[in-house]
């Protein structure tokens, strides 16, 4: 008797399982047909790093401080920079990323003092060799580099003028104060 009820229960559980699969049979597939539909990428999706445009410069604002190169656990960033005429900070001459080594930890973004590093939005890059993943991050900024340098110099000049003006104003104020002091003393 027990055996019969076991068999009955067993078959019932099997039928229930079949009920689940047949219900799904008539539902819509959840597949995203990738090359035809693009996956929606998260806003903070981590990817290869890029130099992002700063509005006031019209180009990136990398100052070749090498912070990202130093923090990178995988040694995948290499930067050389040099001082340009009329600029207070350095400017990178090369900014190479070996994306094949990158582990997308995001530490370089954390340390960037000018916040000019960001993530690329291209998530489906593929290649046939390691060399395909050696990115030159300055590539996209080559064309506008001269104008950017001009803008930077302009900004630098303005800043300098401002500083001069402030210093002058400070000095005048000081002198004035001194005069006043002197006046007070005299009085």
């Amino acid at each position: 008797m027990e055996m019969i009820s076991d068999v009955y229960r067993g078959f019932r559980s099997l039928l229930k399982g079949m009920g689940v699969t047949i219900r799904h049979f008539f539902r819509k597939p959840v597949t995203v047909e990738y090359p035809r539909e693009r996956a929606v990428v998260s806003k903070v999706q981590r990817n290869a790093i890029v130099l992002i445009e700063k509005d006031d410069i019209g180009s990136h604002n990398c100052i070749a401080c090498l912070q990202c190169e130093k923090i990178c656990p995988s040694n995948c960033i290499s930067i050389t920079g040099s001082r340009k005429d009329g600029l207070a900070f350095k400017r990178p001459d090369t900014f190479d990323l070996n994306f094949a080594l990158c582990s997308e930890c995001g530490l370089c973004l954390d340390v960037c003092p000018t916040d000019t590093l960001g993530y690329s939005k291209q998530y489906d890059k593929a290649g046939y060799s390691r060399e395909d993943f050696f990115y030159d991050l300055l590539d996209q900024w080559k064309a506008t580099e001269e104008t950017a340098l001009g803008t930077l110099r302009e900004i630098e000049r303005k800043k300098k003028e401002e500083r001069e003006a402030r210093r002058k104003a400070d000095a005048e104020a000081k002198a004035k104060a001194k005069e006043n002091d002197d006046g007070d003393e005299k009085a």
């Binding site: 959840v30 806003k43 923090i71 990178c72 995988s74 582990s103 997308e104 995001g106 530490l107």
Partner: protein, 375 residues
């Protein structure tokens, strides 16, 4: 090893050795089991590990504490968030860094989601080992939603590097919260369906019940932790016994069973999924506003000279970090006590006397992740 491929020597003609793995569909990575068999019955089993040894402990000695962050989630790629956040919590405790409330809650939400995703993957692969392919894809479908949710804040889908010393990288937004809540509701509706398809299925029950006993004594001798230990009847969970972070503020049960066989381990994990769901919901309802990063994080992390130990509960059990500092920015030594390492060691004893078919079920039920064993 010519001895391994010879069938039947003169003294024992009817026994033979079988190499299961390192390339085998159900060894979950690159595990090799050296089985000594008589017919289909296992006389002795010897797990051989180390095929994916990447020397994370050596790497730790060659970089500073911050640079080790991406390594953490690559040890156990299925519960990377727990490892990553756990490592952050260890260093924070050592250097005495306060973490903002909001960041703590976000960490709990993400860790528990990660735990669910790990359990779902285990659920699917166990069923695949038993020959049921459809539950595997159902689990992946649900797991995919978790990965999407975690992708929203951490930017990665598997090897998260979301935690930082003093907080997390990104604040959560309303979309994250609403999607998480929707997912919790969805999974709660989904679990009865899983029960119909799998748990109550007579074939599944017969396959899992009464095999692979890991009893209390074995747990004790092999230092087995996690769901395997709880299935044997020992109520032990690092989250409850040695609360780290803010786990003492949540109300959750530690599911236990008494038998310690495959089915008990299965049930413990299934119950853990719903407990984790409840923790996620509690955390979201209590989520305070505020910053997600401590205001003053030292630029140089150099803990005082000494030895430290910190443990968290990963999806597979007790994950301990033993950190020795020499007072500089570079650690003197880091050792990771990973749960699967001890859990897999029991296979030498547990597999004895079972068959090849049971082997895949038992291996599946202890939930091993090989990169975590090999480190």
């Amino acid at each position: 090893m010519p001895e391994l491929i010879r069938v039947g020597r003169d003294e024992d003609r009817d026994t033979y050795h079988l190499n299961m793995g390192p390339q085998h569909p159900s060894t979950h990575g690159v595990l090799r089991l050296r089985l000594h068999l008589k017919g289909e019955v296992i006389l002795s089993a010897d797990p051989i590990v180390g095929y994916s040894h990447r020397a994370h402990e050596k790497m730790a000695e060659n970089r500073n504490y911050i640079q080790f962050l991406p390594n953490t989630s690559r040890m156990d790629y299925l519960s990377g968030m727990i490892y990553n956040v756990g490592y952050c919590q260890a260093i924070e405790k050592i250097i005495g860094l306060e973490v903002p409330e909001r960041a703590e809650y976000i960490r709990v939400i993400c860790c528990e989601l990660n735990r669910i995703s790990s359990h779902l993957l285990w659920y699917g692969t166990l069923l695949m080992d038993l020959g049921g392919f459809t539950p595997f894809l159902y689990c992946f479908e649900d797991r995919e939603r978790i990965l999407d949710i975690l992708d929203l804040v951490s930017g990665s889908r598997l090897t998260y590097c979301y935690g930082r010393f003093g907080g997390v990288t990104e604040d959560v937004d309303d979309k994250f919260l609403s999607e998480t809540l929707a997912f919790c509701k969805h999974l709660r509706n989904r679990l009865p369906e899983y029960d119909d398809l799998v748990t109550n299925n007579v074939i599944f029950q017969n396959r899992c019940k009464g095999i692979g006993h890991i009893d209390k004594k074995t747990c004790h001798e092999f230092a087995v932790t996690g769901p395997c230990q709880r299935a044997a009847g020992e109520k032990r969970d690092v989250r409850r016994d040695e609360p780290y972070g803010i786990y003492d503020r949540f109300d959750f049960k530690v599911p236990t069973r008494t038998g310690g066989d495959c089915f008990d381990r299965f049930m413990v994990r299934v119950e853990e999924i719903s407990e984790s769901l409840s923790i996620v919901e509690q955390a979201i309802s209590k989520l305070p506003v505020g910053p997600v990063m401590a205001p003053k994080v030292p630029r140089k992390i150099a803990p005082a000279k000494g030895e430290y130990y910190f443990a968290v509960e990963s999806a597979r059990g007790h994950f301990g970090m033993y950190i020795v500092s020499n007072g500089t920015e570079i650690p003197e030594r880091m050792h990771f006590r990973t749960p699967s390492f001890s859990n897999l060691a029991t296979m030498r004893r547990v597999l004895k006397g079972s068959t090849i078919s049971d082997t895949v079920a038992i291996l599946g039920s202890i939930d091993i992740v090989l990169p975590e064993i090999d480190r």
